[in-house]
Symmetry: C2
Subunit: 554 residues, 2 copies
């Protein structure tokens, strides 16, 4: 008997599976916040639903609640004061383990159906979640809607599609009949059951509380595991909304809602205790190298899927579209004030300059022109504030303030007033130049709107430096601008050796810091910036096991 939610969403699932194999463009979740798609009242309803959370208790009815906590400060300076349930981690884990058995028994079809129903509900609530993302992370509205809503849902669906693709190739049962020469064959019936490995812990980050959470959440869930979402202390609301919707869908489907819960913990030690609990078998983590490495070193009972810091870089060897290249790079550096794990930090340019369609450009000209392109792009304050968003953390503000120490400033960061949020901390990017030898400056992640134009000997040296940066410090994205096929080939080989995704000659509406679900692998999982990818089969295959039984039959 097929689960009704599996039937309901089967066409979406089939299309998702076909797309991860073909890797063309596809999505069931509209990225434009259009009233025709989301409904005429969706924008207003979503805003009101978000506002209704402010200053209130966010009730989740989770077990073991010991109190309430309100820890979020909006980068836009508005008062949030949402109080979240603080629950005893042991109670959450015990309840998750209890919920796991019926989740396993539901089978792969039922689990996938429930996951797709959760995603559909999340999609319908995209406006509400987008406001929560915007106000907790500092993202601009459109980015908060797209990356926090449909694009995050895409990545969740992608993980479910991979999980289904793996699980559906394990038969529920088989007859095994081995010939025995003249004697009757040996004949056995065998049953194969997919069993989740145990409690999944998903540790969210402060900048992308849904986009970086949904892959691990849905990969773990679909493969038979309960999930505890430990949100970043400053971006709880989007995660809390997500958990609440998941619990509602579970309850409506007659399942134990404690399969998905929210962990609000106020001290790092509590997170560490949760992460090293023997029942926790997988951890999805996005965040700092320090805590990520701590998890890898200490949470040995769990498989850790970690996205950490890196030094994303772009090699500019030559171009036949100089202005379009500068515009493309300028947008990348401005988007969400560079507070993306995929934003370019180091732009490697030959000391002798580059050949372009507008003639030869010296190293200094490239740097100056890029600074001018950023400045021009941000001329209109409405565009500037919409694209830049606000600075998410004081640490990033401090890095911007001290950036002059790292190199020669080509373009200084400016504070911009936000017309709607007077207390918002809006900053334009700072662009610096430095020499390739100044490794202390550009060769560690300086998260935020801080980028370097790095002077290298020549194109070959730039490619070699890019490869070394990726191998030693990691990167989620690498770009190349070159009009020469042999240079493109050399850079391609370098990225294959280093294990990083390469964007070549982006001059239009695609940016090196963006990846499209179902088509672009986010991260590769083989350089220090990440040990996993959104998504590939490795992201799901190790989250479950097959337990078999066999017996003779006539």
């Amino acid at each position: 008997m097929t689960h009704p939610l599996f039937e309901k969403h089967k066409a979406t699932l089939d299309a998702a599976v076909a797309t991860i194999h073909g890797r063309g463009y596809w999505t069931p979740y509209a990225e434009m916040p259009s009233p025709r798609v989301y409904g005429e009242t969706a924008a207003d309803d979503g805003k009101k639903a978000f506002e209704a959370c402010l200053g209130k208790d966010f009730v989740l009815d989770q077990p073991g609640q010991t109190g309430w906590a309100a820890t979020e400060q909006s980068p836009y300076g508005i008062a949030l004061n949402v109080r979240y349930p603080v629950c005893d981690p042991e109670a959450l884990i015990a309840a998750a383990q209890t919920a796991m058995n019926s989740w396993r028994k539901l089978g792969a079809e039922g689990r996938v159906g429930v996951c797709l129903e959760i995603l559909e509900r999340l999609n319908k609530r995209s406006f509400e979640i987008a406001h929560a993302v915007m106000m907790t992370t500092g993202q601009g509205w459109m980015m908060a809607f797209q990356a926090g809503g449909p694009h995050a849902q895409d990545r969740g669906l992608e993980a479910v599609a991979y999980a289904w693709d793996e699980m559906s190739r394990v038969p529920a049962e088989a007859i095994w009949e081995k010939p025995q020469g003249k004697n009757p064959p040996l004949k056995m019936k065998k049953h194969y059951e997919i069993v989740g490995r145990g409690v999944g812990l998903v540790v969210g980050c402060g900048t992308f509380p849904t986009w970086n959470t949904y892959p691990g959440l849905f990969a773990a869930l679909a493969t038979g595991n309960p999930v505890i979402v430990k949100a970043h202390s400053n971006a709880i609301l989007p995660a809390a909304m997500t958990v609440k919707i998941a619990r509602e869908v579970l309850a409506e489907a007659g399942l134990d809602p404690n399969l998905v819960s929210l962990a609000v913990v106020e001290k790092r030690a509590a997170t560490q205790a949760l992460a090293t609990h023997p029942a926790v078998k997988s951890i999805d983590f996005t965040g700092s190298n320090v805590f990520g490495q701590w998890l890898i070193d200490n949470a040995k009972q769990a498989q850790v899927y970690a996205e950490l810091a890196g030094v994303n870089n772009v090699v500019i060897e030559s171009t036949d579209s100089y202005k379009a290249m500068l515009r493309n790079l300028a947008f990348t550096l401005c988007l969400y004030s560079g507070q993306m794990c995929t934003t370019t930090q180091a732009i490697l340019v030959p000391a002798g300059g580059i050949d372009t369609d507008l003639g030869h450009k010296s190293f200094d000209e490239v740097a100056t022109d890029l600074g001018a392109a950023i400045d021009k792009f941000l001329t209109d304050p409405a565009v500037a504030t919409a694209v830049l968003g606000a600075i998410q953390s004081d640490a990033t503000l401090a890095r911007i303030a001290e950036a002059g120490e790292y190199g020669t400033i080509v373009l200084a960061s400016k504070k911009i007033d936000h017309p709607d949020f007077p207390q918002a901390e809006v900053r334009t990017p700072v662009l610096l130049t430095c020499d390739a030898a100044d490794e202390k400056s550009y060769m560690e992640e300086r998260f935020g709107p801080i980028a370097f134009v790095v002077k290298v000997a020549d194109g070959a040296a730039a490619i070699a430096l890019s490869e070394r940066i990726v191998k030693e410090h990691g990167a989620l994205t690498v770009g190349l601008y070159s009009a020469k096929p042999d240079v493109i080939d050399a850079m391609t080989d370098a990225t294959l050796r280093a294990g990083v995704a390469l964007s070549i000659n982006l001059t239009g509406g695609v940016f090196v810091n963006q990846s499209a679900a179902f088509s672009d692998y986010h991260g590769v999982g083989m350089n220090p910036a990440a040990n996993a990818s959104y998504s590939d089969s490795a992201f799901v295959a190790n989250r479950f096991r097959v337990v078999q039984r066999r017996y003779h039959v006539e």
Copy 2:
């Protein structure tokens, strides 16, 4: 252009992939050493080829050779004195890395074709390899042929099939075209390349030097990685033959033979240095908990696939085939003198005895009857020596000698003279009884022909004890005898919780310690006895990554 070896073996590959999805019986490698299949002269040729190795240098033409080593002592007491090349591990690793690039460029089809060609050559050399397995491990001839030859090849092919199944679902390229409303679509071409994660190290064991080596060897190879085989110091010859054949096939295919090499290291410290080398990205290990845990704790740069010790157990609650049950268990306990990672060690029997088709049997009767069944099975010395083989290590001989300390002896171990090998150490199993409370006796692995009939309160207690043993100490196999559906259901649930494969009411020609490739998952990978399974998608998916590049197209 399809690789000729891929074309040559495509029908075999397709059948293997179909079988891992259907999990019925299938093999391309005949398990009977029949002259009709293997050729009229195959048996003689194989024996001579084996004998030609004795007392000689086993030449492999590997880089960095610093000397020769001969470390093997045959459990059958014959002189081996094969001298193997000792090579500088750094040289092997450097050569492996050099070989890796062209192996990646060959593509998944070419790699899989080469792997299948190696497996076919191994199959043709099954007699020669079987003699090497028999004389280094102490296995009886038929087992050495089957488990060391075709069954090991099956497991290698199975790993290749899983690797292909995963890799073939990643397209080489795609066109991604995203609508932009009234504007022209964004259109990109994307390339996806499968990249192995780095050098694979396969650490073999002394008892199954091919069966436990081929899964990791072929999983790593097929997914784009070079492999260094570090054989057990007492079972090098089967691994050396395998490596030599692989190197021959590689060279014939115009590839770098250093993609596969043999590491003969004389000190544990050298193995440790190899295992923790930054270039080594996967380790497949079969062996002791001590070294396995050391690898997991220390070789953090690598994914470790470990098969360790466990306490395999069988619950006897009732049976409607008492004599057939005893015969089945007796064979399991005798086969290769219990020197299998899958051999039953603890047989859990209710204190009040069991209901059978031959009336109620008391606890003591069950134990005595099982001892008698073993004794009867070994009456014929020809059968006894063929099934028992010889004891592989002095440590196992010592454990047999001291077994009386662990419980009450029901059947004592006897030394048997081998008609062909007067110096062979042949021993019959020792069977003991003890109480469930005597956990120190039966609840740690006592590798070898040592089994316990453990007195438990009742059937429910037996199932609960079995589950606890698996969770705390691990197990690769668990069995149940019961005529009651509710008991079978309860045991099934226990094994699903504990994560172990269950064999129910085996009374014929299938034994709990045997698993069939393509159908039975060997180990589950979710209890302490193993963190991986032969084979599932998790065994291969994490051995490669997909590196992409993208650019605009018109």
